[in-house]
Subunit: 220 residues, 2 copies
């Protein structure tokens, strides 16, 4: 029999530390990154945090491609530029002006890029039999863990989603069946903004928690 009283209990102070990390995590772009190399030990801590994430049926369906080579990053950046041009056209008038001014990635400015892939299983996965997307969601949990670990190490991370996943896979020689979940840029920063940049620029307003909560049934 296990001694059931012996599990790890966290103190209020420890909860408060977690809460601070959650609040101070930011999406970091190329106007903030320094070129300073991240020591390998810190990179390992961030990747270790990733694989502590929950995964459906303990399938651990994640794979990581670490990119520092500037030729490879230039190719990835070309895909960003192509997709971003199409994206900008979707925003009109004053939103278009603002969109064009935003720095939305740090592919070349950050010292480390990490492409995170979902590797589908060939056999049925426990918990994934009804909701097929659960495997991909496990990989997203791993990315969020990376983000928090990086922040607690005072390292910034940004998620670049304006990329053609097919091109990224082709550039990185990734097998066809894998799926790009996130393309991350990591590095030390000159500053972490106190609040999200898109909030500061009034691109979107902050939603109030109470407006997002329903009780027992939707609309209640």
């Amino acid at each position: 029999m296990e001694k059931k009283s012996e599990y790890r209990r966290f103190s209020e102070e420890e909860y408060e530390t977690l809460s601070q990390v959650l609040q101070h995590r930011r999406d970091v772009r190329g106007n903030r990154f320094s070129k300073e190399k991240i020591p390998e030990e810190q990179v390992q801590k961030i990747l270790q945090a990733a694989i502590w994430a929950p995964s459906v049926g303990f399938s651990q369906p994640w794979e990581f491609v670490l990119v520092t080579d500037s030729v490879v990053r230039r190719e990835i950046h070309d895909s960003f530029e192509e997709e971003n041009e199409k994206a900008a056209a979707l925003f009109h008038e004053e939103r278009n002006d603002l969109y064009q001014q935003l720095k939305l990635e740090g592919i070349l400015e950050s010292p480390l890029n990490v492409a995170v892939f979902y590797r589908p299983s060939e056999k049925p996965v426990l918990g994934q039999t009804t909701m097929e997307e659960m495997g991909k969601y496990s990989v997203v949990c791993a990315i969020q863990n990376m983000w928090l670990a990086a922040r607690a190490l005072n390292i910034g991370m940004g998620w670049v989603s304006i990329l053609d996943p097919k091109k990224v896979k082709s550039i990185l020689d990734v097998p066809q069946d894998r799926e790009l979940i996130g393309y991350m840029c990591l590095g030390y920063v000159d500053y972490f903004l106190p609040e999200p940049e898109l909030l500061r620029l009034n691109w979107e307003k902050r939603k109030q928690l109470e407006s997002l909560i329903h009780r027992e049934k939707y609309g209640c």
Copy 2:
């Protein structure tokens, strides 16, 4: 001008606290939950953690339905049973025996269920124009934040994915355009297992970090 030196720096000890929360987080099922009600203040802390998550284009596309009513939870549980019967049939021989013995949810045993939905935007979302799934991934980040905050408050959470999302939406009167991302069970526990149950039972082996990392290109 902002004083750029004033951002929040975390200490090694604070990183270590985060690391402990990441490592001690568990997927909790009905064989561990106590019926003890979670104080509203703690529920608010967990939901607040959710909305500190990153969201693509600061779209905050999350909605939460809190369920305590036992009639409603019974209906949700019926969907679990139906889907789980189909799921069990996919596992054969000794894996089927083990599958049948596993407790995979805590819908009725936990004092609080939280259904988490993605609400699509009617207008283009910055960062979501190429990878449409980014909005759903933002909601997954929110769920991972909830999980960590709950654990740091010594509250267990489990993710039930063996459910028919259409039935869940219908039971909770959720508008058609929303998408169920996760159905969570929360409560105090008698114990947090020191490692994932599916690892202990040898359902899956733990993958080694180094085997999941590629450098510059896949396969390297």
